[in-house]
């Protein structure tokens, strides 16, 4: 038996393929959008995962250090070590700065850590060139996205820093590229940025307490200790807010990127709805375009089953083709986006199901219309 869908599609192959490609690009953008959303959620946790501390100690009654600003004294790291179960501890600073690149400024996120401390926030796996910081001062590790070269000199605040290492895939919870400085440099950058600031502080009689402040202390536990219990213990004695690693992650995903991800999420949903409607419209008009031929077929006695089969097969073919074009399109362009885009198979499968269901519904409406068409009208006019 002759396959009408095959004949019809091959007769107007170019048009069919171009239409599928158009729909595919739309789907590709939807996939990218979902990927941006996924990327945001992953970015939010990259730094916390790399630091990999069991306990985060921040200023009392804050959701620091990322969701809310937090300041604690440097000696906190030593005093929490006295708590039963704590293995290692370290001070960390976090801040956003503008990095000068090729005459313009690029936003980056600075992590300050003690290069001689117990906890190193740089995941060694992320270092693609050079090394971590080994000196007390004037060394910097930057992420490859910023475009600095090894040994390049970067002027920040009152000093120049030499790039000693380059990392890949390191971002702040907001997706900003990371740079690492020694704790002392970072403290100075955060608390006494310029000579002018220092002078004016002196004049006001403010004694610089910069060297005594950091944004948080982190700690790892000896094996066998429950982070939640230890956190409670620290909270009791130190009057600080204390979070476990998973709580800190939750603060990030629930509080810090909530709005942004909701925004992207909503945009994605709208995009999915719009593309569904567009796919449905294209398939509906594709069906109605053939109404004259279908009326003739009905007049000649072609049964409905054959006509429905033709429309259904073309619909499915378009849906599948568009999906694969979308897949190819999204994989071609997703690396070009400045922030992380994560394409996941389950998302693609979900989108595929949505596309196919939408196509089938649209073709059913088209089929209904076509089936009720009067064959006598085929020869009218």
């Amino acid at each position: 038996m002759i396959n009408l869908a095959y004949k019809d599609v091959s007769h107007a192959l170019g048009k069919f393929v171009v239409t599928s490609m158009g729909v595919g690009m739309l789907l590709g953008i939807v996939m990218i959008m979902i990927g941006v959303y996924r990327g945001m959620v992953i970015d939010a946790q990259v730094l916390i995962n790399d630091i990999n501390a069991d306990i985060w100690v921040v200023q009392e009654n804050t959701l620091g250090p990322f969701a809310q600003s937090s300041r604690v004294h440097t000696d906190l790291k030593d005093s929490i070590k006295a708590i039963d179960g704590v293995d290692k501890s370290a001070n960390l600073t976090f801040q956003n700065i503008q990095m000068p690149i090729n005459g313009t400024d690029e936003r980056a996120f600075v992590v300050g850590y003690d290069p001689f401390g117990e906890i190193n926030p740089i995941n060694p796996k992320t270092i693609i060139k050079g090394r971590a910081i080994l000196k007390e001062h004037y060394e910097i590790v930057t992420t490859d996205k910023l475009g600095y070269k090894l040994n390049e000199k970067i002027a920040l605040g009152r000093h120049e820093y030499r790039v000693v290492g380059i990392t890949h895939g390191t971002v702040s919870s907001g997706g900003d590229p990371l740079v690492f400085l020694s704790l002392k440099d970072a403290q100075e950058l955060q608390f006494s940025y310029s000579n002018f600031r220092i002078r004016s502080d002196r004049e006001r009689g403010i004694k610089s307490s910069a060297q005594q402040l950091v944004n948080c202390a982190v700690a790892t536990l000896k094996s066998g200790y429950n982070p939640q219990m230890v956190a409670k213990e620290i909270q009791k004695y130190k009057h600080k807010s204390v979070y476990t690693q998973s709580q800190e992650k939750e603060i990030l995903t629930k509080n810090l990127i909530k709005m942004a991800s909701k925004q992207i999420g909503m945009f994605t949903v709208i995009l999915i709805i719009v593309s569904t409607i567009i796919i449905a419209l294209i398939i509906y008009t594709m069906t109605l375009e053939k109404i004259k031929e279908i009326a003739i077929m009905k007049l000649l006695g072609v049964p409905n089953s054959l006509i429905i089969k033709m429309i259904a097969q073309e619909t499915l073919l378009m849906g599948i083709l568009a999906f694969f074009f979308g897949l190819i399109f999204s994989h071609l362009i997703y690396t070009k986006f400045p922030k992380r885009v994560v394409l996941q198979n389950p998302d693609a499968i979900m989108l595929f199901i949505i596309v196919i269901v939408a196509s089938i519904i649209a073709s059913l409406i088209g089929i209904k219309k076509v089936i009720s068409a009067n064959p006598a009208e085929a020869i009218g006019g």
Binding site: L4, I296, L300, G301, P303, P375, A378
Partner: protein, 239 residues
């Protein structure tokens, strides 16, 4: 009754109702025998296409009865749900325009209905090629309709109407698009088919020159259908 291909009894067709009521045919009662080529001649708007489409089970009459061969298909309502089966098994349609399916090539157009009727592709193709050969367009078998001339397409359309070996051919102005020589050829060919395959052919035409080639004439006057011999028609004895 054996040799009757089409029979109608008190067939009526009105369109619309109330203020928009259009009475097209108020009485069609006639019989057409197998092997007959019947010309359907009447002024424009008289209801020729309407009559043809009722016989072809495409248009539902207002009332009356229709038999196609032995089978009574209409008695104030359709007696079968499978009007399309009747069309594809018993009837060959030819129109003024060819109405070929544009995305099927010539041979696919001709073999479509036979295939649906259960003829194997091989057999259908063989018969289609014979038909195309008969019409002198065998070499166009794999062309798309868009690449053929109007006359060639019309011949494909006639081949298609014959491909399902119909008992009845309903031809609505099949020669209107053809020159007079080709028109005569087509009518002669329809006559030949009518005799050879004992098919009843009703052919709508405006061309009086075709009348002598036909066996009888159907005409519509004052919404009534008359079935006349050639002489009766020429002498205008009845109408």
């Amino acid at each position: 009754m054996d040799n009757i291909a089409i029979k109608t009894q008190n067939l009526v067709k009105h369109f619309g109702k109330g203020d928009t009521l259009v009475e097209v045919i108020n009485d069609a009662t006639f019989e057409i025998k197998k092997g007959e080529l019947v010309a359907l001649i009447a002024p424009s708007g008289a209801g020729k296409t309407t009559l043809l489409m009722m016989i072809g089970c495409v248009l539902t009459p207002t009332s009356g009865q229709i038999w196609l061969g032995e089978e009574k298909v209409y008695d104030n309502k359709w007696l079968t749900k499978e009007k399309r089966r009747i069309r594809r098994e018993k009837i060959g349609f030819i129109f003024q325009a060819h109405y070929l399916i544009p995305f099927l090539n010539v041979i696919e157009n001709v073999t479509l209905i036979p295939q649906i009727n259960g003829v194997s592709l091989k057999e259908a193709k063989k018969e289609a090629l014979e038909l195309l050969d008969y019409f002198g367009i065998k070499d166009k078998a794999n062309e798309m309709p868009a690449n053929l001339s109007g006359g060639q397409n019309q011949r494909v359309a006639i081949a298609r109407a014959l491909a399902n070996k119909p008992e009845i051919i309903l031809a609505d102005e099949p020669t209107a698009a053809l020159d007079s020589k080709r028109s005569v050829d087509v009518v002669k060919m329809l006559k030949k088919i009518a005799i050879e395959q004992s098919v009843a052919v009703i052919m709508v035409t405006h061309d009086e020159a075709m009348v002598p080639l036909c066996d009888r004439v159907l005409t519509i006057k004052d919404k009534k259908v008359y079935n006349l011999s050639i002489d009766e028609y020429k002498n205008k004895t009845v109408v």
